[in-house]
Amino acid sequence: MTFDVAPVRRQFPILSEIIDGRPVHYLDNGASAQTPLAVLDAVRSYETTGRANVLRGVHRLAERATELYETARADVARFLGVQPMEIVFTGGCTAAINLVAYSYGQLLQRGDRILLSELEHHSNIVPWQLLRQRSGVELDMLPVTTDGQINLESLPKLLTPKTKLVSLAHVSNVTGALLDVRRVVEAAKAAGARVMLDGAQRTPHGPVDLHALGIDFYVFAGHKAYGPNGIGVLWARPELLDAMPPFHGGGSMIGHVTLAETTWAPAPRRFEAGTPPIGPAIGLGAACNWMAALDWTATHDHEMELVQRVLDGLQAIDGTQILGPAGLQNRYPVVSFMLDGVHPHDVAQTLDAFGVAVRAGHHCAQPLMDRFDLDGTTRVSIAPYNDNTDIDALLAGVKHAAATLR
């Protein structure tokens, strides 16, 4: 089945805007994706016909808000192939990782080890460094291959009996490399370690079957997956959620409070202290439903055809280098490149003049930049609504930068 991009584009009002006299060629989806009408409508509906706090009120608006919020939890769970009460809403993907680092981290002992990689986003490095400072765990790093993939050859050496958790990017936010999850899970389980995946760059490209992956924790961000800002998701195996102490204290996460002590609510409430981001959660539920309704075989083919167009076009421009897998194997639609003699920010600024939005810099992955001795890269990140005109505008802009800035 072929993919018809036009009806998809019509669902994203911003794509037909002319901004400062330029069309919108939005290729910065890895930073934040655009939002379809279905999500905007869901949030507006809550705000205009159901706005109230959740869980505690008995009036009809509170009942409606609670139902919408819990339906959103079920929508997200269906998207991941898990049970609703295994889904914890957080303020974002970073917040979800910090939750695990704090609460699961409380279960670890001094001298236990956590295995990360050199290509992780800072949000999957810094929370573990903070845990190391607090509790004395040790961090190990899987190296990265020359084509920007996590080098799993080092797994047997770096997985020790002390390793309690392996936490890796499902898809790299810089190179687009897809992790060989099966290999990681097999090795980690054999060593008795848990596995967490940072799904921020994977979830915008279709439903994920977490049980098939065999992992223990999964996190992702709403705003990268066509949802609102201010919402993220943690999934964890229920026995882990049950064992983990709370992260934040406050309303809604308690069993009973006296002036002497407090008992905790069961998960997921234990991890949702205070009033949650209700509207954003409802929007994320709508985003998951929107994604689930796409034919992902055709959509993925469409995205990867665009990646091929990017790779072919860049390779035809003198002095470009790709940081990431050379072909379409083991990658998702994120492409980083360097243009010899032109700083990535200058490439991105030039592209802005062509109406093309990309991200340039270190992409919150400074250890990866250090690994390749780079100032940064220019990153093109693709979503289902992108089309050939976006890629052709990108390539025209890169050619212009090559011709004028070096």
Binding site: D20, H343, D346, Q349, G376, T404
Partner: protein
């Protein structure tokens, strides 16, 4: 097209590489990083007894705007002390629209950056490094 930010004078300043490199025996050196974009500037200065710049060199690991700014600064900083460099910064800030008034050579070249707030720190990073070197 908004790549008027890369007008000929800015590109020429960056390509001139005035002052690019290291000093063999600097009196002082300072490095500044922009954590948001990763730009890095290292400035070496040789100072006379009264703290005025006798010689200046810079290493820029950053964008064209940062390179152009460092070159412009190196072209005009010799003979100045901390106060004189602060005056130059004011001139650069006038070009960026952060201070009232008209900027002068060579910093008037950066007037197109006034419309691009996210890039202004690129222009100012060499000033930050030089200020540290003179402190």
């Amino acid at each position: 097209m908004s790549d008027e930010i890369y007008q000929a004078r800015i590109v020429a300043l960056a390509k001139s590489k005035v002052g690019a490199g290291k000093l063999a025996a600097p009196t002082k050196s300072a490095r500044r990083d922009n954590p948001l974009c990763g730009d890095r500037v290292t400035i070496d200065v040789r100072l006379d007894a009264s703290g005025h710049i006798v010689e200046i060199a810079h290493q820029v690991r950053g964008c064209l705007l940062c390179q152009a700014s460092a070159a412009a600064l190196a072209s005009i900083a010799v003979g100045r002390g901390a106060t004189g460099v602060a005056e130059l910064r004011q001139d650069a800030e006038r070009a960026l629209g952060r201070q009232p008034g008209k900027a002068h050579e060579p910093f008037d070249a950066f007037e197109p950056v006034a419309a691009h707030k996210s890039r202004q720190e690129c222009v100012l990073l060499p000033f930050e490094a030089l200020k540290d070197a003179l402190a």
